[in-house]
């Protein structure tokens, strides 16, 4: 169970960091920028892929931290990026499962 505790702790810390970072970037009282953020999308894809497909506790924990960072952004930000990251990670998981 220790590995699950590490994952959930990493995800929670990542979410809190993401929220703090996001409020620094966007201080407006409303959602001002709805564009797809390529950098955050790359972080989300990298994070979710590491989390689901690395098979290593440390790498998966880093993955959950990064995934949590994007998912934990201020409401209105990071949603599309998270969705793209999750979909790619799940597809990769099945591809690895069937081919390897």
């Amino acid at each position: 169970m220790l590995d699950y505790m590490i994952y959930i702790l990493a995800f929670a810390i990542g979410s809190i960091l993401g929220l703090l970072y996001s409020y620094k970037q966007h201080g407006e009282p409303f959602v001002a920028d709805t564009d797809f953020n390529m950098v955050m999308a790359a972080v989300a894809i990298f994070g979710w892929c590491l989390a689901f497909d690395s098979g290593n506790v440390i790498l998966a924990a880093i993955g959950f931290l990064l995934a949590g960072f994007v998912m934990g952004e201020r409401p209105g930000y990071g949603r599309k990026e998270t969705a793209v990251g999750l979909i790619i990670a799940i597809i990769l998981y099945f591809l690895l499962k069937w081919t390897v």
Binding site: M1, Y4, M5, I8, A12, M71, E73, P75
Partner: protein, 290 residues
């Protein structure tokens, strides 16, 4: 693994997972009501925040009782984690945990001396109506499996398939308990909007922090027990998906229903409980369920 380490790890997991799930619950409710809603991690931050706030104690409280009840609440749900996810022990212990939780709700409200707390304390007695369907669900599980031990119930389901498919009405009864304990539930008569925060109203600072900590654990333990005794042996991904799905469903239900008055709440719970209990007995004794 060392038992103490196992308990500590499970309690941390229960707190974090419960907090995130309650955050998700708030998010789902907000999205149904066309609001952006707080971030999912907000409930966790909120719980941690209270540990660093000033703890004011009102003059009207019964001090020892007022402080002690908070620790009893935390202890009760830690026992829930030990009896459930750690030891896979008897369902009766978990029923006992839930019964003590009711008493703690009641005493927490009465110890504050606040009229809001007192009203909540009176309503906590009425909300014991939830315990009857819970006990009935446990009895039905016992009738089917011949055991109260969670470990043995899991083994039974690995052979005969999940109990949710053989005694679905008992699962409905247990699910009603989960709806009752979810935030902003139609049956949440001890914490409805007329009472501000119900029995928690007069607890501030780290005392409220402990209460939120306990509630997160309580949510996790209840979902864990429901998934374990009705959906058979599950792996971590199964639990995660199950917990997220149930949180989504309760979020939808709570976002679209008003909070019942105490008499409506009690009657609805008793009626659903009675229908499901006698329905399942009929299924068992007429041979519909093998």
């Amino acid at each position: 693994m060392n038992l103490m380490a196992e308990i500590l790890i499970q309690v941390v997991i229960a707190f974090l997972a419960g907090s995130l799930l309650l955050g998700l619950h708030r998010k789902v409710m907000a999205r149904v009501q066309k609001r952006p809603g707080p971030p999912i991690v907000q409930h966790l931050i909120h719980s941690l925040k209270f540990f660093f706030k000033e703890t004011a104690i009102p003059k009207t409280v019964s001090k020892v009782f007022y402080v002690g009840i908070v620790f009893i609440l935390a202890l009760v749900w830690i026992v829930g984690v030990i009896a459930g996810p750690v030891a896979h022990d008897s369902l009766l212990i978990l029923f006992g945990v839930y019964a003590v939780y009711k008493i703690v709700e009641h005493n927490s409200g009465s110890s504050s001396g606040s009229p809001y707390g007192k009203l909540s304390c009176v309503r906590a007695v009425l909300s014991a109506a939830t315990e009857l369907p819970l006990f009935a669900a446990i009895v039905l599980v016992y009738l089917m499996t011949g055991t109260m031990n969670i470990g043995e119930i899991i083994t039974y389901q690995s052979v005969h398939g999940p109990l949710a498919f053989s005694i679905p009405l008992a699962a409905v009864m247990f699910f009603m308990l989960i709806i009752t304990k979810s935030p902003y539930s139609p049956f949440a008569i001890t914490k409805d909007k007329a009472l501000i925060s119900g029995f928690e109203t007069e607890h501030f600072g780290f005392l409220r922090g402990f209460m939120l900590f306990s509630e997160s654990i309580a949510w996790y333990v209840m979902l864990w027990v429901f998934l374990t005794i009705f959906f058979g042996p599950l792996n971590a991904v199964g639990y995660l998906i199950g917990m997220i799905v149930i949180t989504f469903i309760t979020g939808f239900i709570n976002a679209t229903t008003p909070i019942f008055s105490p008499n409506h709440s009690v009657m609805t719970q008793i009626t659903i409980g009675a229908i499901c209990f006698f329905g399942t007995l009929l299924m068992i004794f007429t041979g519909v369920v093998a």
